[in-house]
Amino acid sequence: MSTLDSPLDSPPDSPSDSPATPAPELAAPGRRRFSMPAFLHNRRALVGLVLIAVVAAFCFLGPLLYRTDQVTVRLDLADLPPGAANPLGTDASGYDVLGRLMTGGRSSLELGLAVAVTTTVIGTLYGAVAGYLGGFVDALMMRVIDVFLAVPTIVLLLMMVSMFTPTLWGIILLLSLLSWLGAARLVRGEVLTLRTREFVQAARMMGGTGRRIVLRHLVPNAAGVVIVSGTFTVADSILTLSALSFLGLGLPPPHADWGTMLSAGLNSLYDGYWWQVYPAAGLLIVTVVAFNLVGDAVHDALDVRLDQP
């Protein structure tokens, strides 16, 4: 679980030195502009979107169809293997594993999405301001980011949860505070290049104010990288939460998420209770892969470069 900015990058498939294939009049692929056909053409994107839809339906609609008791501890029902009553068996506290996967998934997804939204907002604003202002302010704002980046997220998180008892919203807040850095850097970089683009100069030539330039030109054009980073943030946050849970510093007991289930189940792996581990692990990995696939595909679709005439 490395948290690189965006390791998933691939240039377009068309050879860069191919003969310019002049497009018919009034229709040519754009440069650095999100291209819906390219996005849908990308099978990865479709697979990712379908997976996300399935997982979301499972977690949010599943409990409506498949009702289980996830509150009462029933030690008499603990560690039951999969059977008619419990399709995926029960865990050490007697909770139905299938039902718990659903509620646990809700926490994981909610956390991932909430963190992605907050970090995107904070990161975009911070990055856009730093990139637009430039100079000393930019340098200072970037050093602040460097400071936060210098200390691994998990270290800061462990430090915080050792002081406060974690709740889901507490962890969302903490993760948001620690994960906007990447988004901010990306947006800043994007704004720095956009700022020199001729259409921004043209807006200045018309007498456009700084505010207008940021809101009308810079932010919409940086939106692409923001979406990409947000998508990766969902995946990263889910993984970080699971790591915290594994270290025993995640959400406290009655609460469930895939990470907690996984780490609890791992203790009984030696007893052969595989159903307490692999379904949770599988769902977790599938979800993270799905978000990464979508992020990757959006990234590629944004990167459609054009053989210039």
Binding site: R31, E198, Q201, P220
Partner: protein, 693 residues
């Protein structure tokens, strides 16, 4: 005896996501020893791909198909195993690529890169290879080659890098050299030097050369025979002289006619080629040029013409023309007013009476070098502009020319207020722009607009064209929403775009159409002056003419003033009433277009003009020498006295000691030179402002 290189029915297909591109489609030609063959055409015509196919260097997804044949000295290269082909590449056939900035490995020394080829094909020790590298680098004109073997590419200027690339290609004395746009990325003065070098080396090493270019001027001066390519096929093939004098294919004719000519003054409207080349994934069934051809008939649209005619002059056309198009203006589908020189002159003289629109006085702009704040280091600055003054009258066009790095772009940015001078003033209709701040400045901006070079970066990719054109109106608070929409429709009509263009995004347009949108946006605020920085240099020749015509037409109908900044003297000649020549941050000569072109007083102006290739073989053959020798000195430390002296053929001691002051040669014609080519008027030495008339 077989010809040195014989290409027959060469067909190259490239598989892409959009389908199979028939990049080269049945091309045949021969190349004799010692000959230079030109492959000429617009981008996407398959000329580069032909060169790469001969080398066997196809891009991903590319393959040579059908009964294609490439024979070198009788030996078939198509289908040869890769290991055998490698022995041919770089040894018997070598290639020089277009962009010297990206064609050298940035992490390897130039010595290493040149020697690599020697070691590969000739063997021997590293020391021997290095000796050979130094020898060839000397041959291509790299000063002190032995000491520079350890240099990295980024330490060399563009011109020197191109010399290194040529050295790399020539180091094994190949029989055939393929030069793919070898000078397109270079300044015109350096271009002339490199082309002369190539011609000289070709003669000395008895090579044959294929010169791939889009530039008809380069073709005229440096080829023996020419193949004109269009949409993957050869349209016409002839000796250079006959081709230029008596072309048979309408495409060749239009291509030549649409190039603005340096040696002919501002003729009327430039003839244009309407439309765009066909999509090569699905080429039309008949003649590929039919859709854009004014002579096309039904036969052209259904049956594809083969190359016919005598062996010395072959063409693929059902209705061959006979020689160049008559000079008279031709009606084009685009309805733009034809501007005749007389009209333009009338406008210009009317301007004289009034106060100038814009006046710049002693503009100085310097950019500090990074890291020069360190203790113990001298503060270094790039002297981008060192005291430039100029005036622009109402309805007048001032052209600014010079090599890259002369400060012309910086000047443009200062004129429109995108940047502020370190000292000096820009006055618009009597108002000093430097004193305006905030809201006042933003309102004033509507009088000064800019047209940008890059049609890809000048329009916001996320806004529809309608919004792009409305934005200036919204910012300046002009009109109601419906009035703004009407104005947008009006603007689109003015630049010759259909009304539904307002609903499209910029990426749905071609480069030329985007430049039209850019021009419409500049016009939206009915400015007094438009600064156009390289307005057509990113466009293909045929599209270029359309945009130039449009610019001139709109000038008359709106009474606009233009400042046209370009490295292309022919473009400036076509548009400008007066021309300013810049060199290393100084304005060295200003005068009417005729003064500059016919009676240049400054040796730099004369050299620059001489370096521009003219699409006329007779004119080009008559030239000797490269125009301007050497390269532009660093703007970090410009030479003392006259900045041009280091490259000037007439320089004497005085030039290093004393900076020349501008001298008057005729009304409105000034030049700053101690030893001018014309006789100055006896009295005054005016400030070099180039006041009109």
């Amino acid at each position: 005896m077989p010809p040195l290189l014989e290409v027959s029915n060469l067909t190259t297909h490239i598989r892409t996501r959009r389908g199979v591109v028939r990049a080269v489609d049945g091309v045949s030609f021969t190349l004799e020893e010692g000959e230079t063959l030109g492959l000429v055409g617009e981008s996407g015509c398959g000329k580069s791909m032909t060169g790469l196919s001969v080398m066997g260097l196809l891009p991903r997804g590319g393959s040579i198909v059908g009964d294609s044949s490439v024979r070198l000295g009788g030996r078939e290269l198509v289908g040869l195993p890769e290991s055998d082909l490698r022995r041919v590449r770089g040894n018997e056939i070598a290639m020089v690529f277009q962009d010297p900035m990206s064609a050298l490995d940035p992490t390897k020394t130039i010595g290493h890169q040149v020697a690599e080829s020697v070691l590969l094909h000739r063997g021997g020790t590293r020391a021997e290879a290095a000796d050979r590298a130094a020898e060839v680098l000397g041959l291509v004109g790299l000063p002190h080659p032995r000491e520079r073997l350890g240099d990295y590419p980024h330490q060399l200027s563009g011109g020197l890098r191109q010399r290194v690339l040529i050295a790399m290609a020539l180091v094994n004395e190949p029989k055939v050299l393929i030069a793919d746009e070898p000078t397109t990325a270079l300044d015109v003065t350096i271009q002339a030097q490199i082309l002369d070098l190539l011609a000289d080396l070709r003669a000395r090493l008895r090579m044959a050369m294929i010169l791939i270019t889009h530039d008809m001027g380069v073709t005229a001066g440096h080829t023996d025979r020419v193949n004109v390519m269009y949409a993957g096929r050869i349209a016409e093939s002839a000796g250079t002289g006959p081709l230029f004098r008596a072309m048979r294919h309408p495409y060749t004719q239009s291509l030549l006619a649409s190039v603005p000519r340096l040696d002919r003054g501002p003729t009327g409207q430039l003839p244009t080629i309407p439309g765009l080349p066909p999509d090569l994934t699905d080429p039309p069934s008949g003649c590929r040029f039919a859709a854009r051809c004014q002579y096309a008939t039904d036969r052209c649209r259904t049956a594809e013409p083969e190359l016919t005619g005598p062996a010395t002059h072959r063409y693929a056309c059902w209705h061959p023309t006979d020689g160049p198009r008559p000079a008279e203006p031709v009606d084009t589908p685009m309805d733009v007013e034809v501007v005749l020189p007389a009209q333009a002159a009338a406008v210009a003289s009317a301007a004289v009476a009034e106060r100038p629109v814009l006046e710049a006085r002693d503009l100085v702009r310097e950019f500090p070098v990074r890291g020069s704040w360190l203790p113990g280091r001298e503060r270094r600055v790039v002297h981008a502009l060192s005291g430039v003054s100029l005036t622009i009258g109402h309805g007048e066009t001032l052209g600014i020319v010079g090599e890259s790095g002369c400060g012309k772009t910086t000047l443009g940015r200062l004129l429109v207020g995108l940047d502020r001078p370190d000292s000096g003033t820009v006055t618009l209709d009597g108002t000093d722009l430097g004193r305006l701040r905030g809201r006042e400045l933003r309102q004033r901006r509507r009088d000064l607009q800019m047209m940008f070079q890059d049609p890809f970066s000048s329009l916001d990719p996320r806004m529809r064209v309608g919004s792009i054109l409305r934005e200036p109106l919204q910012i300046q608070g002009l009109g109601t929403t419906s009035e703004q929409r009407e104005r947008v429709a009006e603007l689109l009509a003015e630049v010759g775009l259909p009304a539904h263009a307002a609903d499209l995004y910029p990426h749905e347009f071609s480069g030329g159409q985007r430049q039209r949108v850019g021009l419409a946006r500049a016009l939206a605020l009915t400015p007094k002056l438009i600064v156009a920085d390289e307005p057509v240099s990113a466009l293909d020749v045929s599209v270029r003419a359309q945009v130039l015509n449009l610019m001139r037409g709109l000038q008359v109908s709106h009474g606009l003033s233009y400042v046209v900044i370009s490295h292309d003297l022919a473009v400036v000649r076509y548009l400008a009433d007066r021309i300013g020549v810049m060199y290393l941050g100084r304005m060295v000569e200003v005068g009417s277009a005729d003064d500059i072109h016919l009676r240049a007083a400054h040796p730099y102006t004369a050299g620059l003009l001489k370096a521009v290739p003219v699409p006329d073989p007779d004119v080009e053959r008559a030239k000797h020498g490269a125009g301007v020798r050497g390269e532009l000195p660093s703007p970090l430390a410009p030479p003392s006295g006259c900045r041009f002296r280091t490259r000037c053929p007439l320089a004497q001691d005085l030039c290093a000691l004393e900076e020349p002051t501008p001298r008057l040669f005729a009304t409105g014609h000034t030049a700053a030179c101690h030893f001018p080519l014309q006789t100055p008027l006896p009295d005054a030495s005016p400030a070099l402002t180039g006041d009109p008339a």
